[in-house]
Amino acid sequence: MDMIIQASYLIAAVLFILGLKQMSSPVTARRGILWAGAGMVLATLVTFLTPEVIDSAQASTNITLIIVAIAIGGGYAWYSGRKVAMTDMPQMIAMYNGMGGGAAAAIAAVELLKASSEAAADPSGATTIASTLGTDVAILAILGAVIGTISFSGSIIAWAKLDGRLSLSRILPKQHLVNAVLAIATVGFAIAIYFSADINTIIIFFVLALILGVFITVPVGGADMPVIISLFNALTGLAVGFEGYVLGNAAMIIAGIVVGSAGSLLTQLMAKAMNRSVANVFFAGVGTDAAAPAGEGIEGVMKEIQAQDAGILMAFASQVIIIPGYGMAVAQAQHKIWELTQILNEKGVSVKFAIHPVAGRMPGHMNVLLAEAGVPYDKIYDMDDVNAGFKNTTVALVIGANDVVNPSAKNDSSSPLYGMPILNAFEAENVIVIKRGRGTGFSGMENPLFFADNTKMLFGDGQKAASELIQAVKEL
């Protein structure tokens, strides 16, 4: 029986890797998730057959509890995952990821508590968690516990921030200092657990790690959220891999470490796209405190344009480049924008979509939304492919994007965005910006593009503005 179980775990791990591999190409991506899903079902089912579980003293109670927990947790996730709007996907990923981190931490907690009570049974007091579990298992159990717990509470904060339930940017003065002290304390207690068997040490350790996860996520600026979610995703993977070693489960080790390394690389790619280091994301907190400039030195006024005039401008353009941002997602304007594109195409206008690597709340977020609306891939361009084309563009239509077209990133070395590659919308003959109001973007920084001579502002909700543009172009 053990042989069958181990073989099934191995097959599951292979299915995960092949599934992820297929997900890395648009053609096979759908099959990829089905393969990975099959692996998960297989691994879950054979776990019910594990001899240790079946022969456990409380087998019937425990197995009932497992089924009830799966029904509740899985049922809730199924319902919420089905119901959530496409635009809210990033925060749902954050939440499910946090749940995984929490599960890994809870596994560690069970193991540590078990070891603690075993060690406490030795009256001499010489037995520690390390000697009960063994050096390697103890270290990885504790490491997994720290990482999993931070990922759990951090992801929940990330979810709350993205979902608009939490707008806090700091809890205490000198937050970074507090975090550093807290981090040291957490590490201290982690080491203490290793050398002791005291149950209170374990409890304090988990509480500290929970608070640390909250504290390091709260100051992170909204624009950096994708990087953080990706990082927590990688961390959960690592925690799962470590706890897999503790339980001697090959599927958990392989799947966890694969996700850990893939997630780390993805995090780096994202941070690089914003020209920031991962450390920078944690410690800078762009736009969250006094570091954000008030936009001094920007001269000129925003010039408003009516949809009527904007429509005419676009209908007689030779080329239009549409730059979508999070605002388009919020307004659910992607369908209207695609309709507008089709009407412009009928009038002989060439229309391209330009996607900044970090547009929206996640890399590829905009691509997903445009795909949902039915925009074909060949109209969607990456930053590097489209940037040279802005010079020959009649109209650059910016819808709900801000920081990714902020020229300060190119020419103002005092700007926190300085050095981040941007879409060169400012080079277009005309720039039309659809925006809800005059406020700053998610990073809290003024955008000189909005004050430029060739820029016109079309104020209003993205979907409404797009409908008005469609109307205006149709009437011609």
Binding site: S24, A36, N62, G73, I93, F152, I257, A262, G263, M270
Partner: protein
Amino acid sequence: MIEGLAAIYIFMLAGFTGYEIISKVPVILHTPLMSGSNFVHGIVLVGAMFALGIAETTTQQVIGFIAVLLGAGNAVGGYVVTERMLEMFNPSKEKTKGEES
């Protein structure tokens, strides 16, 4: 069962595999892939089931129950969200693309 050097091999090879998978991915698939890898670490459910399955005290059962609850949420939620996202890459969209170009 899996110890010492063998474990280090597994850790290392799994690490390279993950790196290899991501390094050639087009930007448009970054979000689905992040979501997909989020689903894959839902395998923690299996560990959680094991932990609850061999629980002996009420405390262990309570924590184990929470672990299974969260793990199941990770696995099922991760799957549903990824599947919905990838649904948009279905072949009929490819056809539309062909007609227009």
